[in-house]
């Protein structure tokens, strides 16, 4: 056998083996480096997600404090003042003559009625009676009518509510709609609002659309307290929130649970 031929064959095998070794090393190195890179990305994503959740939580807490502050002021400035005035009339009751007593009696009666109305308003705001007694569809219908009458906006509401949700779910969605309407009144500069709601056994869908100024990309990135509240509530319901500016203008928000 030709010696150089044998040596050539042996060398080819050696080169092949060493080549495979280096190929293996490249694969192993790639895996280690790529795994580190993926891990870094995942950690970054997780940190961003946690920061976002914290932001939502802070927004929820802030919103609750604002609400408590408002209720506190309403009770102090409204109910508190009326009850104090009533007490003052009752304190001077004995000193009055018959005519004075009649006037005081009438005034106390008016004040107590105003107090009761004020307490009912605060209570209804805390827990809407319509929601508890007639359900979500009627409560939202009632809310849209009230807002439309107060603001002059054209608000249309359509619903297919075949499957009633649990009370906590209904309250959350009611608050979301309240927030949407509040946002529209404060920021949207819209004249027409459309709300559609459908609920079946396995899906709840809410669509909000207005013809206002919409939402910019910056505003999408840095959401205000209202939108963060909505997002927080939708997350709590394991739902998906989508915000977009339709081609014809305005704002479109869909909530899918």
């Amino acid at each position: 056998m030709d010696g150089s031929g044998v040596a050539g064959e042996v060398n080819a095998i050696v080169i092949g083996m060493i080549g495979m070794f280096f190929l293996t090393l490249i694969i192993i190195l790639f895996v280690v480096v790529y795994q580190r890179k993926l891990l870094k990305q995942e950690r970054k994503h997780k940190a961003a997600e946690e920061a976002h959740q914290l932001e939502l939580l802070q927004a929820t807490i802030e919103s609750q404090e604002v609400e408590r502050d408002r209720i506190g002021r309403e009770l102090h400035d409204g109910v508190g003042v009326m009850l104090s005035t009533t007490l003052m009339y009752l304190d001077h009751w004995k000193e009055e003559d018959e005519e004075g007593k009649a006037r005081a009696s009438k005034r106390v009666d008016e004040l107590l009625h105003e107090t009761i109305d004020s307490v009912r308003r605060v209570s209804a705001n805390l827990r809407p009676v319509v929601l508890e007694t007639l359900g979500l569809a009627e409560a939202i219908g009632d809310l849209t009518t009230t807002v439309a009458n107060a603001s002059g906006l054209n608000i249309s509401f359509r619903s297919v509510y075949d499957h009633r949700l649990s009370q906590p779910h209904e309250l959350n969605i009611y608050r979301v709609v309240q927030e949407l309407l509040t946002n529209a009144l404060r920021h949207a500069e819209a004249t027409k609002i459309t709300l559609e709601m459908t609920a079946s056994a396995d899906r709840f869908f809410l669509k909000y659309e207005d013809n206002g100024k919409g939402i910019s990309k910056d505003q999408l990135g840095q959401k205000g307290l209202g939108l963060k509240n909505i997002e927080s509530r939708v997350n709590a319901l394991n739902g998906k929130l989508k915000l977009s500016n339709p081609s014809e203008g305005g704002l479109l928000i869909t909530i899918d649970i």
Partner: protein, 185 residues
């Protein structure tokens, strides 16, 4: 020590036993050690498949690995009966083992990257097992692919090939030893 590491330790012990037996048989008995390697190839395949099936989370992949064991055993038996009897080197079975092991090791890397199971992959025992398997069996594909040709060549002329093979075998078992000390699966 986890299940995987126990299996690995047992495999390494068996490998040592086989090498010692082969050495004794050839040096003192004058017998060929080829029959032992026919059997050891199958045993090694069984152990490695069991180890890999314990380290993957994909049930389908694990089932495929386990299912391949009897198929490989059948092939090894057919190889003995039809092509390479016990007194000849079992290069066919060895090449097939090498190809399968390389595919399994690369697949393990791919699956693990997708799952993101480890914060530091090099701290897992399975990683080092795959490294050892990949280094040794990838070079074995080349070596045993020409195995029948190498037998015809004088040992003096082919010594470099066997030296490299021994070196890769040492790296192979060194990686297995590192795997024994890493985090159990």
């Amino acid at each position: 020590m986890g299940v995987v590491q126990r299996l690995l330790l047992l495999l390494m012990f068996l490998a040592l036993l086989v090498e010692c037996l082969a050495y004794v048989m050839s040096k003192w008995g004058g017998y060929s050690s080829y029959p032992i390697y026919h059997i050891y190839t199958v045993v090694e395949y069984v152990f490695l498949m069991q180890i890999f099936s314990q380290t993957v989370t994909s049930r389908i992949f694990s089932r495929i690995l386990r299912f391949s064991v009897p198929l490989f055993g059948l092939f090894a038996l057919l190889n003995i009966v039809l092509w390479q009897p016990l007194n000849e080197p079992n290069t066919n079975a060895t090449i097939l083992t090498s190809i399968i092991m390389v595919i399994v090791a690369v697949s393990w890397f791919f699956l693990t990257l997708n799952e993101m199971r480890y914060s530091r992959i090099e701290k897992s025992s399975a990683f080092w097992i795959c490294v050892g398997v990949l280094i040794y069996f990838s070079s074995s594909i080349v070596l045993f692919g020409f195995g029948n040709r190498l037998i015809e060549i004088e040992l003096v002329d082919s010594i470099s090939v066997w030296v490299i093979h021994i070196l890769f075998n040492m790296i192979h078992y060194l990686c297995f030893n590192i795997a024994l000390w890493m985090d159990p699966e």
